[in-house]
């Protein structure tokens, strides 16, 4: 079965693309004829950077720049628990001496599926090039998107004592996959503006779920949750 899934980038709507990789770039290799490689390849989307981005850590300061915009400097001594602006977010607990973890918010997109689709898992998966090319590894996860349409950002882990993060516009940064009850199903990922209602519903759902961890796990992972509703 073929099914639709939608995404709506919050910033850089035109430049922020999540799409299948071009198969032609593999066609000269022997493995491109392998059916088990091809099946997975046809169901793995790649998220590309919508902008140039640089970030480095030195003397307890985080310094970053997007495109040719002004450089932003964040003195960690002046951050209490958490820092966030329109581009990045981090918790001070994650800003250790060895590895640091920050979220790149400017990559964020909202993902959702048609309401009738009750069981559609979403995976945010690392891209294998980033450690060598961009100096970071993506932090991923998966959950049932049909129960909890939501926005995702890109959490990255990098060595604090390194040359810093360098991303060029168009670099592959992460992979997206979808799973249903049948691994042979095929997703069609479409870029589309999300309505304000969707974000509002997500915020309300998050509020309810974060107050009840058992319910949160049911919503995120249980298979027949929506079937349990008496008005289903």
């Amino acid at each position: 079965m073929k099914y639709d899934v939608f995404y709506s980038p919050f910033q850089y709507f035109e430049e922020n693309t999540v799409e299948l990789e071009d198969k032609n770039s593999h066609s000269d290799f022997y493995y491109s004829q392998c059916p088990v490689w091809g099946h997975m390849f046809d169901r793995t989307f790649v998220g590309y950077s919508p902008a140039d981005f640089k970030l480095r850590y030195f003397d307890n300061v985080i310094e970053y720049q997007i495109n040719d915009e002004e450089i932003v400097e964040i003195d960690l001594d002046e951050v209490d628990e958490e820092y966030s602006d329109e581009n990045i977010l981090f918790h001070m607990n994650d800003m250790g001496e060895d590895f640091q973890v920050i979220q790149l918010v400017f990559i964020s997109s909202f993902f959702w599926a048609p309401y009738e689709q009750e069981y559609l898992w979403f995976e945010f998966l690392d891209h294998p090039h980033t450690f060598a090319t961009n100096n970071f590894v993506t932090v991923g996860g998966w959950f049932n998107l049909a129960n909890h349409p939501r926005s995702t950002s890109l959490a990255i882990k990098y060595e604090a004592d390194s040359d810093g993060i360098v991303i060029e516009k168009g670099d592959p940064l992460y992979r997206i996959r979808f799973y249903t009850e049948n691994m042979d199903d095929k997703p069609n990922l479409v870029k589309k503006k999300a309505s304000k209602n969707m974000s509002t519903a997500m915020d309300k759902r998050r509020e309810v779920m974060s107050g009840d961890r058992k319910f949160m796990k049911e919503v995120l992972f249980d298979k027949n949750l929506r079937g349990q509703c008496p008005y289903h």
């Binding site: 000269d28 290799f29 022997y30 493995y31 392998c34 059916p35 088990v36 490689w37 099946h39 997975m40 918790h91 607990n93 994650d94 250790g96 590895f99 973890v101 898992w121 995976e123 690392d126 891209h127 294998p128 090039h129 980033t130 450690f131 060598a132 090319t133 590894v137 993506t138 932090v139 991923g140 996860g141 998966w142 959950f143 049932n144 959490a155 882990k157 799973y179 009850e181 049948n182 691994m183 042979d184 961890r213 949160m216 796990k217 995120l220 992972f221 249980d222 298979k223």
Partner: protein
Amino acid sequence: MKYQIYYCPLELFDDNQIELENPRHHKDYTYSECPVWKHRFSRTYVGYSPISFRMGIDGDIVWYTADDEEEVEVPLSKVKDYYDDDVMYFSPVDMMHSHPVVQLKFPNTHFWTDFDNEYVWFEMLDHPETSLNNNFIAIGGWWNLGSHPRTTSLAVKLQDSKGDLCIQKGDPLYRIRFYSDNMNDKFKLTKRDASDNLFDSYDKRRELLTSDPKFMNQMLFDKNARKQCPFHNV
């Protein structure tokens, strides 16, 4: 539901390890408390190298060393269709690229599940650290292991053909994951000796599948392939 999956390394049985990563490596980070990270982490196995290995390409020569053994040199001009020994396999066509591809045979492992598990998919997935640490990216794939238990090797694509591929014993090389029709199911991977019967039936199945691509696609990917057998319930 919990599924049992088994693996049998064809070589270096004791040193060839595939296991869940230790969550303690992540416990200091905020994301380790995130349920969507934890759910996937507890279902992702990592394959570690059973040996130290180094290979490179110098002009016409492909060379490699495994542990402390003598260096092996293979002149590409003397390889016709493919090169194959105990340690690696490659086609000369795949060596002409800026990112050459070889198959490493020392991680070769046979995977299978209990016969009753008709729908358990197997995925061989790259590991995110190899591009920088080892100068390669593993080439992955997935299929229904319930229909086709099989042996896997590790196909790798060099990232910088001018640099060496360098693996230390114990390095994470690839990831293994399993899927059923419920993503909340759990899988327990156990190392075990495979019987000769398993290998015999695997060879016979491969012979059949390679001669009929349509049947091969059904066996690898169709959900109800086994149910179509008229003796399924007998």
